[in-house]
Amino acid sequence: MSNTAVKQKRPALKVTKASKTLNVSSGIFRVNQSITKSISRKSFSSVGDSKVLDKSSAQTPKHTVQVFDENGQEVTPQPLYHPDPSVLQSKQGKLFTTHDTSWATMTDIQTTNASFAGPFTRSFFGSISASRTSHSAESVADETEDLLVKQDLSSSLTDVQGPIEQVKEQVMEYILDSVADCYLTETETFWLLDIPAVSVSGDSEDAEAVKKRNDAYIELCKNRQGNDKYVERSMQTFNGAPKTKEVQSDSISMVDKAIMSSTWNMYDSFCSGEVSGETAVSSDGKKAAVLDTSSMSHQPNPEGPDQSTSVVSITSTASSLSSRLEMEAFVLQVEEQPDSELILQSDKFKQDLAVMERVVLENIFQPKLAAYRQLPVIEDPDCARTAEDLESWTEHPFLEHLWAFKCELTMGRNVSSMAWNKRNPDLLAVGYGQFNFKDQKSGLVSCWSLKNPMWPEKIFHCESGVTALDFSACIASQLAVGMYDGSIAIYNTQSTEQTPIIDSSDCANIHTGPVWQVKWIDHETALSGEEKGETLISVSADGRISKWFLRKGLECIDLMKLKKTNMRSERRPKPDKREELFEVLISQHTSGMCFDFHPNDLNIYLAGTEEGQIHKCSYSYNEQFLNTYTAHKGAVYKITWSPFSPDIFLSCSSDWTIHLWRQDLLKPVLSFTSGQKAVYDIMWSPHCATVFGAVSEGRVEIWDLRVSILDPTIVSVTSPGVKATALLFTPETDCVLVGDSEGHVSVYKLENFTSVCSTQQVDTLEDIIQSTLASHL
């Protein structure tokens, strides 16, 4: 057998043809049994060869291992079997060297067939080897079946035991003489094939039972033929002809969506769900709808800025068997991506811009604003200290310039009047208009906010120069404006419109001269005790003091007509007043320049005229003056009652003087002159009873009567060519606003000025007056 195997090794070249089939991947498993057999036999032979070679190689170094017993005798075990080198036994060894077998075959095939492609991987070989082993194991079994010869078995068994070294047989004489008993025993039966029988012999015990069963079955089959119990029925199902159909779908685009559910997310969806969702409740008592809400508030829209995405979340019920189940649809945040144009034009954007502008300016003006608001000025740690700060450390009171309200719109315009808003102390209205007749141009009213010193909050353009301003106390956003052409307009500073709410153009008897002062007086409330609203009082160059009210437009009635009094008549005091009226005069009236209502008693007011006279009048009596104070030689530009002392008032005029009066004295108590220029504006300080400020053509003066009644305490000279025309004290802080003819409104802080307001000041003022009067007498 092995010889045949050897012989068959030669036609191993034939395997190349078979091996070509192995090129097909699936063809390996269809390799014929014979081919595998031949291959396996070849493998056997090859391994056998190798085995033999191994054995021969093993035999030669046999001498190295030697075992000796205590007596020094060599008792190295000798191999019991000496194989014939020519005989090839390799069958059983195959079981243990299957891998080698397969590898050997593979390598053989590879060497024989160069066309065997490289792409076969090792795992492939492994699979091949696995299949081969299975085949080869079978063939081994076949082989052993064929060769059921004890001799071969024993030889194979000895092979199994491994290489056994040949042992030198030490033939001892006593062993040869002794009789050796040999016992032969039968091994147990090796079952190699067991096919159970389907037929039973007639002699066995079961035969009877089997026969009976067979007979019964035959009878059953016979009975079936014509029996009603059994019906034969056959069916055939038609197998439809299969047809292949191909469908291709678009690739499903996957979008990852994630949400971090936070407190506000849930709040948002809850709120918007309440507002816009229509809830239709399923009424079958099914399980409650499970809300699936997803909010896309800040998810970037991948579709592009112009498309609108609407996110609809549908609630799904757990069991939707009923057809009447209604679906709840919560439309969340229908987002429309506005394009950039819409953003830039939106009102919110304008508002944000305005806020941002204020913030930026606040950063720039922070030290100034802090000084204004009497907050401690914190130095910016990043800002370098300039040398200026160290120089300006004096003890004298002085005016520190903080900033100036100015912009290109107001350049070159003369500031004629300023007024604080009654409700918001940060808002300032400034009116621009020329005083002279010659250089009249269109007027401007600008509302400035302290938070933005660089650009006014509101700008109103007027046809003619603005000469008077006043904010209403009732309706804080109403601003009354008196103009050079005699008209009066009321603006709403909160609206975005440029036109006034109402103006006096429809009124029949409007002023024919420039309106020099307007004021809101809360007279009705004082009289009747109810809130009836304010009335607007104005005085103008046509000699009328008028009260304005709203009927079908602004209408006015005259409170007083300022009649001219002949100056000459004063020198020749006549007992009879009536004779004065017979004098021929060009005009009965004299221009009214200013007026002021008594702070406590709104029935009394003072009016100053262009002639220099101050008349005390009553609100309810418009025929005659109560009193006349004559001292000024020029037009009286301003009259103010003292806010602390009820009887004292100040007046300034173009004759370079300021007079301090007491109500009951027809002559001024004190007179102040310092410059040689007309004094345009004066104002009492709202904090201190003895302090007042005055502006004349080139100077700003702050007088403190405690310190001196002859000289102003602070004198600040304006730049040459610039006339200071308006003065305003700030109601809360110790700052002064000065408007000039260049259109700037400068804010000054009174430094080193002890202006503590207390009753002491009023007493001081009284004392000064008393002492002055005493000194007169």
Binding site: Q345, K348, M356, V360, D382
Partner: protein, 121 residues
């Protein structure tokens, strides 16, 4: 026929008014932006839309993109923080003061406005 003509004229007029108003608004916005830009120390203004794409900027492209991206993330975090504490509250303004400058951010649903200023210049 005349009625139709009058109607056409009226719609034209209303459309013109709308355009005028739009242009007026644009002009106002432009003016305000210019004023802010001209203030002392203002280094740049950036307007970014809700997606994080800058619409308008006075800085160069690279800086604009950097600012927009980083500030958007910060804004989301800040807003989330404010609303987490009280869901009825919302972020209205954010200021980041650094050594060299100050970044002021006015956020909104559709956009956010960034102004970078160095007030001590």
């Amino acid at each position: 026929m005349q009625k139709n003509m009058i109607l056409c004229q009226q719609t034209n007029i209303s459309r013109d008014f709308k355009e005028l108003r739009c242009r007026k608004k644009e002009a106002e916005v432009e003016e305000t932006l210019k004023r802010i830009q001209s203030q002392k120390g203002v280094q740049g203004i950036i307007i970014v839309n809700a997606e994080g794409i800058p619409i308008k900027s006075t800085l160069d492209n690279l800086s604009t993109v950097q600012y927009a991206a980083n500030i958007q993330q910060l804004l989301m975090k800040a807003r989330s923080m404010v609303r987490d504490i009280d869901p009825q509250n919302d972020l209205t303004f954010l200021r980041v003061r650094s050594k060299k400058n100050e970044i002021m951010i006015a956020p909104d649903k559709d956009y956010f406005l960034i102004v970078i200023q160095n007030p001590t210049e």
